[in-house]
């Protein structure tokens, strides 16, 4: 009884009702009826992602393996852990004052949860590349790129490229031997771009070879520019799923 009174006190007031719209499962009087289930979707911010009803066959875990959703979850997780890491990181690597690398050492040695969050960010990044890749394979084998979903497949390929670029730009930031030389392999390849090879390499490196300017450039690309572009393409991707009739199939 006391429990119920507490629940009523919390839920039955102006502030609570102003936060949770009618139909919200957190609002007083939610009943498990068709009407309230519909309202729960319709009056929720998730209505931007999901319609009120979805095809039954799409719920089967073995149809999607939730790969698209998990890719998005990884993106959110990487954003959160990435913001945490930004508090402890300076993208500076002048000769003799490699602050970036010192920050990495301090992060694991003296920042609370620093090592754990860095691990989450690193493994999460690999996981995201992997889930995005598997998501693409899943969509292909279901023929889910066929009309009317052709353009959303193109957006998806762009998102895969952006995911690889996000991961690759982040790879340089620790400024250790591993980072420097892995990135050297990649940027050397870019130098062989037909016609504009040298220019492309110069713009990406901020010089003729990897140095402090490259670190700053890739840092800005990694934490600001590519995530910004990715979010825009994500929005289009999610919107097109709904406009193209929700999940594909059944086969």
């Amino acid at each position: 009884m006391a429990n119920k009174d507490l629940k009523t006190t919390v839920q039955d007031n102006v502030i609570w009702k102003s936060i949770f719209r009618p139909g919200s499962i957190y609002r007083k009087g939610y009943r498990d009826t068709s009407r309230d289930r519909a309202l729960a979707s319709m009056n929720n911010v998730l209505y931007h992602l999901h319609p009120v009803k979805v095809k039954r066959h799409g719920l089967k875990l073995t149809y999607t393996y939730c790969l698209g959703g998990l890719s998005f979850f990884m993106f959110i997780l990487l954003t959160v852990t990435g913001i945490f890491l930004m508090f402890f990181y300076t993208p500076a690597a002048g000769a003799g004052t490699e602050i970036a690398y010192l920050n990495m050492r301090e992060l694991s040695a003296s920042v609370t949860f620093g090592q754990l969050v860095r691990n989450l960010h690193r493994w999460g990044a690999h996981a995201m590349v992997f889930t995005v890749f598997l998501h693409m394979a899943r969509v292909f084998y279901h023929g889910a790129y066929k009309p009317p979903r052709e353009f959303n497949w193109v957006v998806g390929v762009i998102l895969l490229t952006l995911t690889l670029l996000l991961s690759f730009t982040g790879y340089l930031l620790p400024w250790d031997q591993l980072a420097l030389w892995a990135v050297t392999v990649g940027t050397n390849m870019m130098g062989f771009t037909p016609v504009f090879g040298d220019q492309v390499q110069f713009v990406l490196l901020g010089g003729v070879e990897i140095g402090p300017n490259t670190l700053l450039r890739w840092y800005v690309l990694h934490v600001l520019f590519i995530p910004f572009v990715t979010v825009i393409f994500l929005a289009v991707h999610f919107w097109r799923i709904r406009k193209d009739g929700g999940i594909s199939g059944p086969l």
Binding site: L46, K53, F73, E98, K146, V157, S167, D176, M190, L251
Partner: protein, 281 residues
């Protein structure tokens, strides 16, 4: 004028006593108090008796005829023939026009442009049949997003999150020694997802392996839905597409595996059980 309507406390208490919800009791008590107030003023409640309604209609017709409305004049003979105590469609239109403020003696508004002082919006609109979109979708087997889909998503999110947390607890991300541009490491590899490209570098000129081939792959991938014109999504109908894609994935996977695990110092072929694993995530 006050919008506050007092409630009939007696009715309210009785309904609450009967176990009715607060919302219903309040509404009924409000209605009771309004009825009481009207009775006190001497008003009769309930629907109007038939003769009273007929009298009101008579009055309306007389007024409309006096005003000289075109519609009502033409309607009068038809009404005389048919008889009955109902408005004809023309009369109803005249009444609507009158209540909107441009019927009767007034000049009709030109082309629907509202006169100053009029409302600039209407709550009703006539939708021509051509304006209605015909939806020809089949009825589908669907379930509610909440709770069914959201629960599945939530559980998979928790599972993936916990897996990652456990992995991060036990496995530390690698951190080598400070970057040194003058000291090339003996094992020099790109991140695993670019190992396919690096492996191609062992066979082709960098312009082919590093730029042209990945560019062609990406464009081909984007063009796939426009190349594959087969409308069927069933696996048995699209053996060629599935074969081609599987071949592509296998080829790429093999390159990544060879590059990651079977290449050692100086990018020479090695066996991992002989010289160890030259691979860092």
């Amino acid at each position: 004028m006050s919008d506050e309507v007092s409630i009939d406390q007696e009715v309210y208490d009785r309904l609450i006593g009967e176990g009715k919800s607060e919302r219903i009791a309040r509404a009924k008590a409000k209605a009771a108090s309004v009825r009481k107030a009207k009775l006190a003023e001497g008003a009769t409640l309930g629907p109007r008796p038939a003769e009273q309604a007929a009298k009101a209609l008579e009055e309306f017709r007389a007024n409309a005829g006096g005003g000289g409305g075109v519609a009502t004049k033409t309607a009068a003979p038809a009404d005389a023939g048919g008889g009955g105590g109902r408005l004809t469609p023309e009369e109803r239109a005249a009444r609507v026009a009158a209540s909107l403020g441009n019927g009767g003696a007034k000049e009709p508004a030109s082309m629907g442009v509202p006169q100053s002082g009029d409302h600039t919006h209407r709550l009703l609109a006539l939708v021509p049949p051509a304006g209605i979109q015909q939806v020809q979708a089949k009825q589908q087997d669907k379930v509610y997003t909440w709770p069914h889909l959201l629960l599945v998503e939530f559980v998979s999110l928790l599972a993936a999150g916990s897996l990652l947390l456990i992995a991060s607890f036990f496995l530390d991300a690698p951190l080598g020694s400070l970057a040194n541009p003058n000291e090339v490491p003996s094992i020099n590899k790109a991140p695993w997802y670019f190992m396919g490209l690096q492996e191609l570098l062992a066979y082709f000129h960098p312009m082919i392996a590093g730029v042209t081939l990945p560019g062609v792959f990406l464009v081909a991938l984007m063009a796939a839905p426009y190349i594959d014109k087969n409308p069927s999504a069933k696996p048995e109908n699209r053996k060629v597409a599935n074969m081609a894609f599987t071949f592509f994935l296998t080829f790429w996977g093999l390159l990544v595996i060879i590059g990651s695990f079977l290449r050692g110092a100086g990018y020479e072929w090695v066996w991992p059980w002989v010289q160890g694993l030259g691979f860092t995530l």
